[in-house]
Symmetry: C2
Subunit: 347 residues, 2 copies
């Protein structure tokens, strides 16, 4: 479960990763990270006693990230996993108003559901309807609470950020599992963002990581109002299901809410298939792939073959693992700069 | 030379530390980090071509930090070391106006010298003469160009930051080596900061790391206008010179500008001795010490014994190395919060 580089770049301190690697055998992964979460939450409460609200927010985010990584691949104990999810949500909700820039809690209606999300606005004053915005999509086990540092990169460059939970994710998981219509959720949130007085409705991009990278392509293919799209370690179908690791397959089974792995394979392959819609993709699209990813290079070929109406920027890193997490901060910076060029520099 | 935790917390990406550890035997430490500096400078230039000025600034800072660590303990080739120093200065000067918040280049006159420095002001608008400020002092091989991430922690909390080179440091080294009157330089910079229209002249603290932690105590003991003082891995004398590592001793010899180690020992012990002045220290003072530091615990005892007129907060971390770099971000956060409580929350 030790996805060292990803955890570090998302904000887990190196000392905690070292301690996790060196923990006694009798301390489980889940217990170790729960206890780190307790530790940072305790420090956050101390900071609040001192009126150190910025530190309180940063420490609550750390506590949130630790409990996230406690449960992120903990598919085999659903009740424990779900309790940790609830804790993660509570910690981030406490952190949200204290972050620099604050994260505003959103609720967007769709069907009988409320889609929960967060919006962060860069602190520099801006003209009405002038702010570009990037909608960030999580993947199989990612939710709206984890992208604080990536958001900060965008915010420093004058770009607002929005995260939300879609089908199979975070707060929505219990009501709705993996489904073929993630794009309805992203479009509902896009409607909301376009109604915000700060945001330029024509400068909203979508970026998704891992499975979120498939959702991002789907979102932009099905809704031409997106100005740009980034698929970060994404794919266009799940025909390669059998190449996934056992733990990832367990994750698919879990979010598909089925009992057997055969059902999961069938459901995932049928539900996640962008081949019929990729010709509808027209906005500038950035696709980042690590050649060492179990996701095969044939996914990149398919994108090139089918997304014939979109200006594509395809980056394949020969030494990159899934989502290129092992190559440090530069690939993330490049995605951010590409987005800024699409959304800001052209206006 | 691989001071892993310090380098990482100051901003060196983990992937570069891994690559440094795995570099081929024929690639020297100096060459490895020079080449990383070239790499990031190249990316910075690319970013500028795209009008990605924020990325350009962040990448130039990274290039600056890499060339810093190339030369920081490279005492045995002075001309190479000094050329790298000049490069470090140039890189940071290019980065400075592009940082969020920008670093403004200062020049403060003292005797026949110009003290070079940088001032960063938090972005949120403030009333005239309302901003608290922290003056950050480097140590034996640290200069005004390295504390970007620590500064950012203060800036996010509404505190301005100032760095400069004193005797034996950076741009001043060739004109003036290690000397007993560092406090004259910090007081000259303090005069300047108190004249700035943004800054609250009564809310300026001084913080120094390693040898800078001795300078911070000296600065505050000799100038009661400082509102607070942090000594981060500092000391009050150098009687323990012989306990230092061979590489550190070479550094002492270098900045003392003497030929032999015997001369260095004598000069350093005589020049750096706060025992006669510590009773003049009256402002709130925070002293952070790692019990595994070659700097002995007797330095902590001496501070307690002699700084009898200052409210002292002494933190000894039993598992901490020099400057407690191995304990992650929390000790840094605690120093920052302590400063904010001293400078902000009380006003």
């Amino acid at each position: 479960m030790m996805r060292w580089h990803r955890m570090h770049l998302d904000g887990i301190p190196v000392v905690d990763l070292e301690a996790a690697a060196a923990r006694p055998e009798e301390v489980s992964w889940f217990e170790f990270w729960s206890s780190r979460s307790d530790y940072y939450e305790g420090l956050a409460n101390d900071a609040l006693q001192n009126n150190s609200t910025v530190s309180c927010g940063e420490l609550l985010f750390l506590a949130c990230l630790c409990i996230h990584y406690a449960q992120y691949l903990w598919w085999h104990e659903p009740s424990r996993r779900q309790a940790a999810q609830r804790r993660k949500e509570r910690l981030y909700r406490r952190a949200a108003p204290l972050l620099v820039s604050p994260a505003e809690l959103l609720s967007v209606d769709l069907d009988e559901l409320s889609i929960p999300g967060f919006l962060r606005i860069p602190s520099a004053a801006a003209e009405p309807r002038s702010l570009p915005c990037v909608m960030l999509l999580g993947g199989m086990e990612s939710t709206k609470e984890e992208s604080y540092h990536f958001e900060n990169m965008l915010l420093r460059r004058g770009v607002a950020t929005c995260t939300f939970d879609g089908p199979g994710q975070g707060e929505l998981f219990e009501e709705v599992g993996l489904s073929a219509d993630f794009n309805r959720y992203s479009s509902a949130v896009l409607d909301y963002l376009r109604s915000r007085p700060e945001i330029n409705p024509d400068a909203i991009a979508v970026l998704g990581r891992s499975l979120g990278g498939l959702y991002a392509l789907q979102a932009a293919a099905m809704d031409t109002r997106f100005a740009a799209c980034v698929s970060w370690g994404g794919c266009v179908d799940m025909d390669y299901f059998d190449a996934e690791t056992p733990l990832t397959k367990e994750g698919w089974r879990y979010i598909a809410k089925v009992d057997t792995m055969d059902e999961a394979r069938d459901f995932v392959r049928t539900t996640l298939d962008l081949r019929p819609v990729l010709s509808n993709l027209t906005c500038p699209t950035y696709f980042l792939h690590g050649a060492l990813d179990p996701t095969p290079m044939s996914e990149v070929d398919l994108l090139r073959e089918l997304a014939v109406n979109a200006p594509l920027t395809v980056v394949v890193e020969p030494d990159g693992i899934h989502c290129v997490h092992n190559l440090g901060p530069v690939p993330r910076l490049r995605m951010v700069d590409w987005l800024v060029v699409c959304l800001v520099n052209k206006w």
